[in-house]
Subunit: 389 residues, 2 copies
């Protein structure tokens, strides 16, 4: 199968590329190194050192005996994506090429606009590229569980039947995102749903939970690492907590820490995407997967990191709840459904406790890098202070 990965240089993108290569698929990819540049913009860096794309490609050739057709550029540039799709004629296009940070989108108007335009335009470009060039190809698009927000009712996988004033319809579930970034993902989902309606494109729209972890099977086997961010803009909760423990910093849940989200390990995230690739939608189908494994409150995760760190490293870790820079409910109902991927064969492969141990171990080898990033771990991007800049 020909798999094209947009955003192949990213945390998920690189890990997925290794999986698809190891399965014998033909892998091509696009990236403009947006995340590398923007992470530097906030004086941060991946705490696990990663190679340049050029080096990554030659390492894959050496260690796995495979080539990656790489296109450098921005998917928001229609010519680039059209040319690449025409050249590769992929069976599946995995779209990970979006600005992925909620805090980045909330820094100010410039970042809000950039996130909105980059994300929405890239998805529009992909829709037209597929429609005009490879209309049977499968678009596998990464969205986020954050699109749904935290409603006081169960969250279905995309659609639900509702009764109102005595009549019934099967409708998209209302979204209530919590940052400009999350809203771009909602806009993309809506645009993809429409593209499916008009042009019958085959689309999987993945509502993914928060991903944690440093390794997949292939990363462990090859040593070809993927990036790992811990700063307040680009890092996610559990990853950041592990780095704080290793650096001897307080573990800092935002607010009360009752915010509950779906989580899954990097290994399991890659397995889910791989299952979606192997089991494409029917012709003309738009389907939504809620892609996460278990849900935890942020406070539960902080406590687990603290306990595992203390028992394995024999040092104390403190949890300090800090003022929440975001506007979000800190105590709420949360019960999203997630059955479709399980029906296709998904099974959890990693236990959270084991994964936390592994992250701590990988980070302990990079303590100096974490130390050098101490200043950028605490929240500085405050939703209410987002302003013209």
């Amino acid at each position: 199968m020909k798999v094209m990965i947009l955003g192949i240089d990213g945390y998920i993108g690189w890990a997925l590329a290794l999986r698809e290569i190891s399965k014998g698929n033909e892998v091509s990819g696009i990236d403009n190194f947006f995340t590398r540049r923007r992470v530097r913009e906030v004086d941060s860096d991946s705490v696990i050192p990663i190679s340049t794309m050029q080096k990554r490609i030659s390492q894959v050739r050496e260690k796995m005996g495979k080539r990656i057709n790489f296109y450098r550029g921005d998917v928001a540039n229609p010519k680039l994506i059209m040319d690449a799709v025409r050249e590769e004629r992929p069976d599946v296009i995995v779209h990970l090429a979006e600005q992925r940070s909620a805090p980045y989108s909330m820094i100010g108007l410039r970042q809000a606009t950039q996130t909105m335009v980059k994300n929405v335009v890239s998805t529009l470009n992909i829709i037209y590229a597929v429609k005009d060039i490879v209309p049977k190809a499968h678009i596998l698009k990464l969205g986020t569980m954050g699109e749904y927000g935290t409603p006081n009712i169960d969250i279905p996988e995309g659609f639900f039947e509702i009764e109102y004033h005595g009549r019934r319809d099967y409708l998209p579930f209302p979204k209530q995102a919590g940052s400009w970034y999350h809203w771009t993902k909602v806009h993309d989902s809506n645009n993809l749903m429409f593209a499916n309606k008009v042009w019958k494109l085959a689309i999987t729209d993945v509502m993914q939970g928060v991903v944690y972890g440093t390794r997949t099977r292939e990363i462990s086997e090859t040593g070809l690492r993927t990036r790992f961010d811990i700063d307040e803009v680009w890092g996610t909760a559990l990853n950041r907590f592990c780095a704080q423990a290793i650096a001897g910093l307080p573990i800092t849940p935002y607010g009360k820490g009752g915010q509950t989200r779906g989580f899954l390990s990097l290994e399991d995230s890659i397995s889910c995407l791989d299952i979606a690739i192997d089991n494409p939608p029917n012709e003309g189908e738009y389907r939504v997967f809620n892609q996460f494994d278990e849900h935890y409150s942020v406070m539960q995760l902080a406590t687990m990191v603290k306990e595992i760190f203390e028992s394995e490293y024999g040092k104390e870790a403190r949890i300090v709840n800090v003022p929440n820079p975001r506007i979000e409910a800190e105590e709420h109902y949360y019960n999203p459904e997630h059955i479709k991927l399980a029906r296709l064969g998904y099974r959890r492969s990693r236990e959270l406790k084991d994964e936390i141990s592994l992250i701590l171990e990988d980070l302990s080898h990079n303590r100096a890098r974490i130390e050098s990033l101490k200043e950028v771990i605490s929240p500085r991007t405050v939703w209410q202070k987002s302003s013209v800049n």
Copy 2:
């Protein structure tokens, strides 16, 4: 009151400016003449001749003794809107400055992208301008009833209480728009809802039905006409049907013509906006108005135009259903609620039949202009054929 109208040169914008001026409000406006330029791009023009903005301003000074502070430029340019808001410090910003044609957005990727970026970015700019400069100002934003699509249940005004798996929540009504243009309005609504949540901005989000008519009270009194488009890209259903009758062309509903929509006259549209201006939301309130008067199927409207034309002009008018260029249900349930504006005092001032007579009369004085546009009335923009261009 200080009223700033973004898109003051447009069909609604100009009519609203005249209303607010005649009420003694201080009116300022922004426009970049996007619609004038883009209408020419499809070889069309307003069939009712309109003055340049420069002339409009001097005519208002002569006939009404009032000045309009006009800023030429694009609201998608953040500096322009920031400077204007800082200068004017409006009490209310009426946002009509968006690409407003569904067919235009469906011509191809270039127009889709342009519509998406222009509309979403202009609304983001307004959010930040208000938040940073006049945080108490009222944002009155024009959306469309088309955001809702045609669900098989009643359509509330923005939000509804639903029960799912035995639990209840009050949620935004799910949207199912039918063109890229309509989706940009959904994206804007979502972005405004979020801006309200984070920064407590006072927002009225207007889901407006299809507007018809050539005149408001002030247009009749001053003779300062607003534009009137009849081509397939920029004209709306009833306006186009009237022009077809006058030109001796068949009246052409798309498909079966069972598509049912909310409609209201230009006079009533302006009255509704004026009511919203006079009755702003509470501090920190985001409210949604379904702004239309009655709902009709496209076929009912075509039949009314035919009958009124035949009785008043003594000539035959034919109705010819043409293949539907859009992807939409041609027979469906339709029952949107619209009670909030009525509660604030809205009453219909024009009867549809009288309004059709008036449109036909105004158009009969511009028969030559309609004749010259014969070629651009029939649908050429076909949803399924939208392509890279």
